[in-house]
Symmetry: C2
Subunit: 308 residues, 2 copies
Amino acid sequence: VSLGDERQILARIAAMAPAPRNSGVVLGIGDDCAIYRPTFGEELVLTTDMVIEDVHFRRHMHPPEAVGYKALARGLSDIAAMGATPRFCLVSLAVAGWVDEAWIDGFYRGLCGLAEQTGTHLAGGDLSHGRQLVCDVVVAGSVVAGEALRRDGAQPGDILYISGTLGGAALGLHSQQGEAWQRHTHPVPRLALGRRLRELGVTACMDLSDGLSLDLQRLCLASKVAALLAEEVPVFPGASLEQALHGGDDYELLFTAPAERALPGRLEDVRLTRIGTIVAGDPGVVTHRGTLLEPLGYDHFRQQPSDS
Amino acid sequence: VSLGDERQILARIAAMAPAPRNSGVVLGIGDDCAIYRPTFGEELVLTTDMVIEDVHFRRHMHPPEAVGYKALARGLSDIAAMGATPRFCLVSLAVAGWVDEAWIDGFYRGLCGLAEQTGTHLAGGDLSHGRQLVCDVVVAGSVVAGEALRRDGAQPGDILYISGTLGGAALGLHSQQGEAWQRHTHPVPRLALGRRLRELGVTACMDLSDGLSLDLQRLCLASKVAALLAEEVPVFPGASLEQALHGGDDYELLFTAPAERALPGRLEDVRLTRIGTIVAGDPGVVTHRGTLLEPLGYDHFRQQPSDS
């Protein structure tokens, strides 16, 4: 690897890193730790997501900007699901032998662009090397104490909703073109929507990262309820119902609200669709049009039907 | 990999994970994010460190407990260097094909044991797979606002100190036996010492992870000063001066204090040794017994003299 030394790389990253005013970050890149000063009555929500070569991306298929963008977008989507506002991130990167300066610059350009857009301070990280490129991004967000949306609050009788459409990212990974490819490479974290849903008093919320069938099971297990998927699931144009039910990476929000609370059909420029009902029953059991919906979404530790 | 599914692994980890009372963690493993509630007047310090197979450990040389222990110890050492108290950690783990259930259990046993000892709540993480085992640990600590120790506060005239002895970890990696091997596999983060040094008003502090020669250069660069290493550096019994000056992984504290402030020779059961003086001069220049000390410590992006 001829990338200069660690100090030179760090200096280049620090020059690209956004440091928004009022992010709460008192000390950023360069010391043993970053320092964050919370405000009174604030809670921090924290999430971490790995991005691994040949698992989450392929170097000949995904440009470095897209890898960097999505590495941060996945964490921001978790922040959105809590109804929180992003504050800062920490980025650990292990580079492989094939990585050059241009790739690293592209990666951080993609990541920092999204950080800038969303007011996320790149406050620190770690650099190393390995046989495979591995990145781990921690994102911290801020929310009024006690008000974060969780996945364990769904109640029997609640209505089940999703934002946007599903299956677009799975279609895009397959077709590698058009709007679907864009959905796969540049998912938009639903930050504004998450905050609005928190204000509207939804009972449970999570983001769809591993596919509706698996993620809905997780929400039901956490809330100790079952679910009936009775209505039409909104499918991304051109995607199959299979892709919409089991495809991962859509990063839409899945949430529940009491039946008596009327939600608008659109919020923060995103369509909201009622897809079913929460019911009492064996925790985690999801019924789709009368039959059991198997949780076929993405699991790193189970042989995937689509594994090559 | 036959490890059960992600949910089963998570349940096993959650059962081992310490959740100390009063850690401030409101919501731990299982949701999109962990939730931390700061107290009034508190600042959070955050650090992240990767542990990579064949870079930081070898599977046939290092037992899984030692890998897990050290993965957390490295971050705790950064928390110690800020004079902070650990609160929680997030652990991302990408397992390789050779990893079995016993290895994962051993890894988390080592990590959770140290977490328990130090009052660190294992609050969340991510699981994935890769060709190489990669782990990334984020540790968050707490400190009174404005009082964290930084590496940019050293002033000309300050005395330079280190805790303990140096070179033990480098010797241990080479000899693979005795006390030195213990120092390499189970470094003790200097948490109590870091807090005491903060109370005593030291001007700058950092932990020695990549070797004195490189880390002292970093401290001097951050503080825009130079340093004279005039005194004897305390060498771990059996280690060479070379190992003490350039060997990594000792995780002792390097710090500076005004000359008029007398520090004890021992604090929190650790010996403190005066090794030199901070002087005005070209930032980052370190002189050892009249000659320039080259920063030969560990840098992931420079060919190492000892690289195989």
